[in-house]
Symmetry: C2
Subunit: 358 residues, 2 copies
């Protein structure tokens, strides 16, 4: 067919290198440090099976029918209540919409805010899924480096001053792919910069509950009331195959998110919403999270000690306080793509930075 | 917040009147002829429960993990095989991608093809969900009336000749909302017009299996090899709450659909894909479809006979050969919106045409 029929946006989205990496890693020979797959050993399979049976037996006709675009109200109430209890945030259930994983949340945000050529700020290195989702709306990306304790807020401020920035997307806890966490001060600084400019801040937090070192830090929403959208996910604390996440935003933004969600796929999988809610009220999710956290900590500790023991001294690496990601910085002049080629010959895979730059 | 931060596309998407109607119809007092909700009495609740248990017991860790963007391969093979057996179409499993209902298929098509200002053709009256999904990509709509036996192909041809049309979207079987079905000749004519022009044809067919009068007619894909995308759905033959549909397109288009799907939500709900596949191989879906068809035929027959008996003679109405929709045309000068206001006072709801024009 005539390639010119495709929309302009398709030209700007390169074929995903990470997709190719993930394909390679399907080979069981490969030891993969690429991609953030949760450990399936900790999926609550039996509990999910029990929850499925329960909702299908008690409300079968209802849970298999079309449902509302916003999502199952008791599940939204549960999420709002957890924001209140765990994060000290005042969130109304009407400020929550259930999405197909938080990836869809990013897409919906792109849809309602981004016109071609709008400028947005992302972290460097940045979360690839967000770059891919936003790319579809043809923005201009400004990427700002992450320091040890979060984004370089001096540079962020200068970037906001010198450009017409519409949106800033960040993962302040145990960032994908760097593992870096914003300090309390950086969080305050980000909020203060945003307050001075007419822009939207997107706080993506899929890993926040997986902290295994240090104390929980406040959501940036604690310092910034308006023009902020939170994204959350059940993928890392329960299971990703059910594709359930959420968007949290105040009414003015939520109204448009609902319109965009309805246009995108009417509503999220209703059976899964009911299963997850049933699972949540029948089980102790905090206990489950503790179990996952401990397991990830063991792996992180092993990884950090092996790097200290075996890697050359010129290598820099992050020491994540939670989550699933750790980031190596090579000395100047060594290409991560070349290293990838060497590693894959030894059946080891990782994500080279070059593959995720936009 | 500053309304100007929203993307231009959000200005063109009016608040959905049909959404408001559907809210009204949640009131159990209301007798609703608005919206195409399948009859939940025919949801195979027990069979879905059995399938859920089976996949969770046998492959729990696997079915709850992240999966591929294209969807579960055996399910895609099943769909391709049914196209071969039931429609005589040669379809490869790699030409199928699993979506969150066919609504998401429409959104992905908009995403990969439509730039702002591109011209697309839709039917009049047209399927509201498609209008909403496409609107997000800011095309210019050309709507062409449906005649008793399908779209006005003379006008379609003239429209294609006089304009730079990029895409034509149609529901040739038991169309939503009119209930109209394209005759064999109209299907051939549509294919011939498309062959002469460099444009994409989208054949949306969620209701095709629900024919209760007359013989099945060929898919337009039988007459048109290239530049055609088929959309299908399990919502009307199994259950809509699982949000599973599919896109069928040749490789050149499918490659871009995969990129857009990955950017939108990584992949469709994997547990649901496994449940539906298990349901399909453990049960006789054709027998199940016959049962649904008979039930819808009874309702359609009753509706048609009641209209003949009680409606004034000046009223025109379609006599659908399948599916879930029937369309009334009022005499010149009578407003369907005014009639809606009168009807709702008597606790009866329907979809007025004015509410779905773009």
């Amino acid at each position: 067919m005539n390639e010119k029929l495709f929309a302009n946006r398709m030209g700007t989205t390169h074929k995903s290198f990470i997709r190719e990496i993930l394909k390679v890693t399907e080979d069981p020979k490969i030891i993969s440090f690429a991609g953030g797959l949760p450990n399936p050993k900790f999926f609550p399979v039996k509990e999910i099976a029990n929850a499925s049976l329960k909702v299908l037996e008690e409300n079968g006709e209802n849970v298999l029918q079309y449902s509302t675009t916003e999502g199952y109200l008791p599940l939204r109430e549960y999420i709002a209540e957890r924001y209140r209890k765990k994060n000290g945030l005042k969130v109304d259930p009407d400020e929550i919409l259930i999405t197909n994983g938080s990836q869809q949340g990013i897409d919906l945000i792109g849809k309602i805010f981004l016109d071609k050529g709008d400028q947005i700020v992302i972290e460097r290195p940045g979360y690839l899924g967000a770059i891919q989702a936003f790319s579809m709306y043809e923005p201009i990306f400004q990427s700002i480096p992450l320091l040890d304790d979060g984004i370089d807020t001096d540079l962020l401020e200068r970037t906001f001053r010198g450009n017409r920035i519409k949106l800033f997307y960040a993962v302040p806890n145990f960032q994908n792919p760097s593992g870096i966490t914003y300090s309390r001060q950086r969080r305050r600084d980000v909020a203060n910069i945003l307050k001075k400019h007419d822009a939207i801040f997107v706080e993506d937090d899929p890993y926040g509950k997986l902290r295994f070192i240090g104390e929980d830090l406040p959501s940036i929403r604690a310092y910034l009331e308006d023009n902020i959208i939170l994204l959350g996910s059940f993928s890392k604390i329960i299971t990703p195959g059910l594709r359930l996440g959420w968007v949290c935003a105040k009414k003015d933004i939520m109204e448009r998110i609902i319109v965009a969600k309805q246009a995108s796929d009417l509503h999220s999988n209703y059976l899964s919403q009911r299963i997850v809610y049933q699972y949540l009220i029948d089980n102790d999710i905090d206990k489950h999270i503790l179990k996952i956290r401990d397991a990830y900590k063991k792996r992180r500790d092993l990884m950090v000690s092996m790097i200290a023991e075996y890697f050359p001294e010129e290598i820099k690496y992050t020491k994540p306080e939670g989550g699933m990601f750790l980031w190596i910085t090579l000395p100047e002049g060594i290409s991560s793509l070349d290293l990838f080629d060497l590693a894959i010959k030894e059946n080891v895979a990782f994500v080279p930075e070059k593959s995720i730059l936009c």
